[in-house]
Symmetry: C2
Subunit: 421 residues, 2 copies
């Protein structure tokens, strides 16, 4: 490898409040090392590499790079493009190596989830097979917190802080107006894992605090038990605040929104449209006879930089730095992990895991973190998540009173290869 080979940093999948902090960690550590040439950003993740849409981050202003720490979403652009297997689509992987070769790129830092780790792993294997010198390092990112091999994922602490605070805020609203707005449903993300909705449990410091009921995709959901749960809470507190993950499933593992049975039909027998919150709202209004309303935070939960966790921002930066340090010390084909050394006081360091181990694993909320009835979380869950939401990440506020976020200028490189088909 040339003494000063170039690097590419790419971001993939659903953005988070802190994935840019990780990119910042990669960029600043690479620059500091003095051992890496140019650092390219790939516009829209692996798509940008395939299309040879690369821009020179080392030509951006240092203050723009620094402001990555205070900007949500994915500043290089992200994508949801999933490459097929090497056998099925070797051409794509070869194209990636062609692009790397054309721009003297020998370091590939990929921030993403398990699909991205799978992609990075396959690119790496083809490079080894074909004798192209490449170091591939994975940088973990996902609000879903479902990556294997790591204690938790950068992005999770901030979404946990935001959804817990949102439950606290909207819970106060329900408490104030319970005589008419008796039931509030807060729908949060998490199609397969319930880590995000579990974090709303932090808001409930006292029994009467919201959320009174928490439902995770890991617990088989039944409408019958749900109605009983709601009635019981109503009896005790005169109001009910419910937090739900978007991916609730029945005992057969089917999403309840796909076939909600008798409860999923409107009065004409038509299937209810919409997400989990809409279905549950309809069930409550029909079966319990109280008004229900729902808040669906959507992409606002994963981009809430204005209230991000400082712990999360710092750890996101740390995994970016660690990826570069590992790459320069001879590691390859690994993802940086977070290792919780102690919980009280909280201490966290980084480790490494094989990309293939991360690609093939999934971390769900363990049974011991969910209460016996499947409608709440345990103290162990709260102890797990609490350290991750600590601290207020600094943001820049403009003269207009609102946050100021950066945007790369993106001076794209001159393309050297035929157009990607």
């Amino acid at each position: 490898m040339a003494a000063k080979a170039n690097a590419v940093v790419a971001q993939s999948g659903g953005p988070t409040a802190v994935i840019n902090s990780s990119a910042c960690g990669v960029i600043q550590e690479a620059v500091k090392s003095g051992r890496i040439g140019k650092i390219f950003g790939a516009t829209n993740g692996i798509l940008g590499i395939l299309k040879e849409e690369l821009f020179d981050i080392t030509a951006e202003k240092p203050e723009t790079v620094e402001a990555l720490k205070r900007t949500p979403a994915a500043a290089t652009g992200s994508c949801r493009y999933k490459l097929k297997s090497l056998d099925q689509n070797r051409a794509d992987y070869e194209r990636i190596l062609d692009v790397f070769r054309a721009h003297d790129i020998h370091y590939f830092f990929y921030c993403g989830g398990n699909d991205s780790m799978d992609t990075a792993d396959k690119v790496n294997k083809l490079a080894a097979e074909t004798g192209y010198e490449l170091v591939c390092m994975g940088v973990p990112k996902t609000i879903d917190n479902d990556l294997a091999c790591t204690d938790h994922c950068p992005g999770y602490g901030s979404v946990a802080k935001y959804v817990a605070t949102s439950a606290m805020n909207a819970g106060k609203d329900t408490e104030a107006l319970y005589t008419t707005d008796t039931c509030t449903i807060l729908e949060v993300m998490g199609r397969n894992a319930g880590w995000i909705v579990a974090a709303t449990g932090l808001a409930r410091r006292e029994p009467q605090d919201a959320p009174h009921l928490i439902y995770l995709p890991e617990s088989a959901f039944t409408f019958e038990q749900f109605i009983l749960d709601v009635k019981e809470v109503l009896k005790e507190f005169g109001r009910v605040f419910i937090a739900v993950g978007e991916g609730l499933k029945d005992k057969d593992g089917k999403y309840i929104t796909a076939d909600a049975g008798q409860f999923g039909k409107d009065s004409f027998g038509h299937a209810q449209l919409g997400g989990v919150a809409e279905v549950l709202k309809a069930v409550i209004e029909k079966e319990v006879g109280i008004k229900a309303r729902f808040n669906k935070l959507g992409t606002n939960q994963r981009s809430a930089m204005h209230f991000a966790s400082l712990t999360d921002v710092n750890e996101a930066y740390m995994v970016g730095q660690a990826a570069v340090q590992a790459a320069l010390s001879g590691e390859n084909g690994k993802m940086v992990t977070l290792v919780r050394e102690s919980n009280s006081p909280y201490k966290c360091s980084t480790g490494l895991a094989l990309l293939s181990d991360v690609a093939n694993g999934e971390s769900k909320v363990p049974r011991k973190y969910i209460n016996a009835k499947g409608n709440g979380v345990t103290q162990a869950m709260l102890d797990y998540v609490r350290p991750l939401v600590q601290g207020q990440a600094p943001i820049t506020i403009g003269s207009d009173g609102l946050p100021v976020y950066m945007r790369f200028e993106r001076k794209h490189v001159t393309k050297k290869l035929p157009k990607y088909m």
Copy 2:
């Protein structure tokens, strides 16, 4: 009136991030004056008065009262109970005066919107008619910003700040992931007035910034123009971020969700369920052929104390103080207003308006604040709202990293009257 007559403070309607600041202003100013006896809180607004559910705020810890400034929603409890006219339900108004008489209450401070001002006005008139000494003062509150006689309403600045920041955050998300998540719809509150959705315009510092399209209830909405708007933005930026008020109406003033015509039916011809965002999502997916997702902030927008405007919190406190000062200086039957003395530098003082004038008025977004196409806001709108979002209101963060809010102990008075029927 006795030298130290008692006062009651009540909160009504949809909570805000700062209605408690107004209550705090009333309470602390009343205590400071030394001219008011006990200050009662009415549990759930006028309902609490009717039911004789009053608690002694002067018996609460001073730090609990102080923490009102940093707690969202309505700490005394709120309600949506609308009293009929004096002619139709004189008994209710007489009951209110009976409760006041039973507890030596001669000051009534009512924090709410125009319905509440109407109630306070009628109570006041009956008191005058029957010779009961009473001073009724209105304290303005509404996120909707639709009260007459005042430049703006406490509660609006904080929701404006939150929805603008939410548009900025989710806008960054759409920008990052536009290759798959091409369209995001942000639905905010505002059934009749578009002040809240108009405030999202603050997020758009550059043309490519979100939101690209803003629709207010004040502009007649047509699906045909909407589809053209979306296609035009898509062509220019490759993505589209849309902010909508929940109460969009067609040219006949009908809510588009009530009868969305050909666009409001699913493929079976059934009427679409759900709110504005769901209808627009369906239209975009069908007519433009891109994926659309929506975020519905719901009650989270009106309870977002964690990112409230300091200007708003301070002004909310100021109107509470001013209500007491006016009451003690001989004013009666009036609501405190906010008067914008200058915009640059921003300077705001308080004034007074007749309760009946506020009760019978409504402030909508004027035409000059909406762009010619009816799909965005003008510089004049931004100049109006910008001062109101300035500054970060302090909150208390607990050792668990999350906001700490107060709750009254609510030691209720012994009831002296027969039960309210």
